[in-house]
Amino acid sequence: MAAADVRDMLDLPAEVGQPRPHKKQKVVEKRPEGITRELYALLGERAPPIAINENKYKGRPKWMNKLRVRPWRMTPFTNNARSDGLVLNHWQRKHESTRPPVPEGTQMDVDEKKEDEETKQEDKEEASKPLEQEYTFAKYNIKARVPKKYSEEEYNRSLQSKDWDREETDYLMDLAHEYDLRWVIIADRYDYQPKVNSEADANALVPAKHYRTMEQMKARYYFVAATILAIEHPPSEMSEAEFELHERMLKFDPDRERDRKELAALQINRTADEVREEAMLLEELKRITSNEQNFITERRELYSRLEVPISVGNTTAYQSSSGLSQLLQTLLQADKSKKRRSILGPEGGAIASPAGQTPTQANNGISRGETPTTASAASKKGVIPAREAQPIRTLTPAEEARYGVHHHERVTAGVQFRSDRAQKLTQAKSNVQTLKLAGALAELEIPVRLFMPTERVCKEFERLIQAVNLLLDARKVAEKVDSEIRVLEAAKAEREKKSAPGNGHPEVKTEAEDGNGMLDSTADAENDQKDGNAETPKRDGNHKRSASVLSAVSDKSSKRQRR
């Protein structure tokens, strides 16, 4: 509906100069070419926006019209790789340099005839030209390097072989040349027909044909080639590459090659089961090596962890609850800044856990309720965090032994080795004592350093060392008493010499008995032998009595020694 119609309806004065006819004209002007006037009129005034596509050949862009057509010409050519000079024709672009630039516009028509003549002339020129030109693809005509032909004399001198005669060697060399040393093909096409000497094979209908394997051919060829190479250049004059080649050719071993091929054939003809088994084994091997790798890295990690120097800093600052909480705060801070896995664990940490704590633990101490227990703090105090959630499970002694659970009386900070502790026992205060201990152990054929410092072994070792110590002490005392006895006896003898018998004797006797009893309690056979000769008669009777005395005496004696 046009504006004019609206105005008409509303009795509004029509605008002067409304360009209706003008509009129509415009439309008519716009009428696209592909549509007839009548059809276009049917569309009415306001035609819907239809894009009318004309399927027209686009042709070349305008700028291309300025370009000259570059003519191609069927030109004959010869191939240098051929010996017979075969002339073939192919399309080739004409050489442009010889042509004058094409005149434009009107001149074109005038020149057309002239150009035709020109091209004909050029054709003639060009026809002769490419013949001189090198054919582009001739350079790909290459042959493998084969040794030069040997002469009759050379053959007789150095190439004789009882397996190969001259003709067959020639045949092989020709084939090698013809097929460019492609041995697969040479072996495939090898079909040597020996010349039938009428007398020898006259009675045989089919001459005996013997097949050559590829290895035999290769061996022969390499032998010939190496020999010829050596004749051309004696090995002393060969260049390095030549010498290497020569060596390699001489070292060819047909038997080994044949064995290798047999193995290869076996490899190809495996059954499905064998292939599966091999795949399985390979998988297994892969698993094992990767496990080993893992083990090695884990062990290295463990070592590096163990080698961390033990902190010697003052820990008094962290003894109080406030100190601990401060430590935790700093740790958390560090943790956050590192953006790594939280030390508080995945459940949100111990801060959230007090709600779930059992009342018994709440009673344990307010300090723990307030200061959240980090993993390290908990283990220090012997409390495992998991205990909070799970009921406590007590282990029977048998189970403890099975799982290897130990309860340490006193745990010191840092890592300790059980073997170190055992080691420490063998170190006595004095050097002499240490040596003696070592001697005693050597006598028992126990190494100073334990092979297998398990807990039980260590305990036994400890007991053994204690016993040895005791024994050594006892021996010392015994020696002392012995010497005392000897002194007193000497004195007594002197006294007896001088006068009638005195009353010092019983006193001495008791001391000797005491020493004897003590020896008995250590249950050492050695000392029995040493000291037994003097005291045996009275030993049994004194045994019980002397047991109590023993410790006191030994204590005293050891104290004396230390002093």
Binding site: G85, L86, K120, F137, R182, R189, K261, N269, V275
Partner: protein, 465 residues
Amino acid sequence: MNPSNPPQTAEYGGDEVSAIVLDPGYSTTRAGFAGEDAPKSLIPTYYGKYNADGQEKFVYGDDIFVTPRPGLSIHNPIGRDGIVEDWDMAEKVWEHSFTSRLTGAKPGNPFQNGLNDIPSEELPTEMEVESEEKPLADSPLLMTEPGWNPAKAREKTIEIAMEKWGTPAFYLARSGVLAAFASGKASALVVDIGASNISITPVHDGMILKRGVQHSPLGGDYISSQIRALFKKNSPQPITITPHYLISSKNAVEAGQEPQVKFKTFAADKAPDASYRALLEERTLSEFKECVVQVWPGPNKLSATGPNGISNEDAARSSPGRPFEFPDGYNQVFGADRFRVVESLFDAKAAIPDPDSPFPTLPELIKASLAGVDVDIRPHLLANVVVTGASSLLYGFTDRLSQELMAQFPGPRVRISAPGNTAERRFGSWIGGSILASLGTFHQMWISKKEYEEHGANIVEKRCK
């Protein structure tokens, strides 16, 4: 990239000399210009012979299918083993293949068409006279041959090309090598499933390994004979194939019902030979092969039991059948039978016991072929199995072949390369020839007329190794 600029020759090594590639097969003969991607001329190798007005007349090309002339008999110049038997007719059929579409029946004088303006002093004058008659005077010719072509046949071929057709240059290439080239490989194990033969050709560095070449007549025609045997035993009724030319009208019938058909009858002296009927029946059969026949996809043979305890036969039976309507209107849905007709390519026991003695199956052929080549290249060949030939287009063929090969050689990697494009599969060796003859480096291999005259036909043995 500006399409108006041709690619540099160095980019693809091409240099086209307008050579013609001729790939004669048992069923069809393919010819076209080198450098194109499909043969322009595709004609059946069969030709028709009939007598008219006391004269013997021949029909070539697709015309043989069209008119049932009285006494028309169909022949094939090539024997069932792929070797030419009737050289005179082979020459005529081949000539028809390129004169009908490529060079024109009567080539104009190439010296007057403006394309070959060669200065006259370059050429011997008698050639100008010759070129009037000889159809191939200005095109080098590349022909293909099967890998087991005897030397006699090769020499005869070059004789025809040089003397009868007057080609300036000639080359004879093995179709197996060309099929390998068509899939871009210089070394491959080519499995060619043709009409009369299946052949295995090991190719190494662009040359066949003669001791590994195997062939057996289990081609498309063998499958046809299997299908015929199946039709004979078919239930509810044996099927006879009636070609279209014998049918004047027919009505649609339900599946498995007797056809309602009116036959055309020929008087005894007007009727074409039985071989004409056989040829047209063969056409129906190849349609049947295209639409219905399917290769059991494996794993294992059709007669074996599948992994889940169901025998493969039952599995095949449970798969939906395919309907086929014969020219006389008879139609039927074919179920497991459609797998059975090709099973004998893979499993000798599965052959429908109608025709002929047992032939080595395809896996056996491949095994024998590999046994004939050096052990070092066997894995490489197995990794480059090229499948070509129109009969390899049977549905599911390559899948089954790869299954069989993997079962037979579980160790090495087996990889089958079979172009998905139908034309590339049908014309594999032609395409390879097209590639070869348009290579710049190949032009030194041609046997030129001069060389032929110098050395005689024997040169083909030396050059085309």
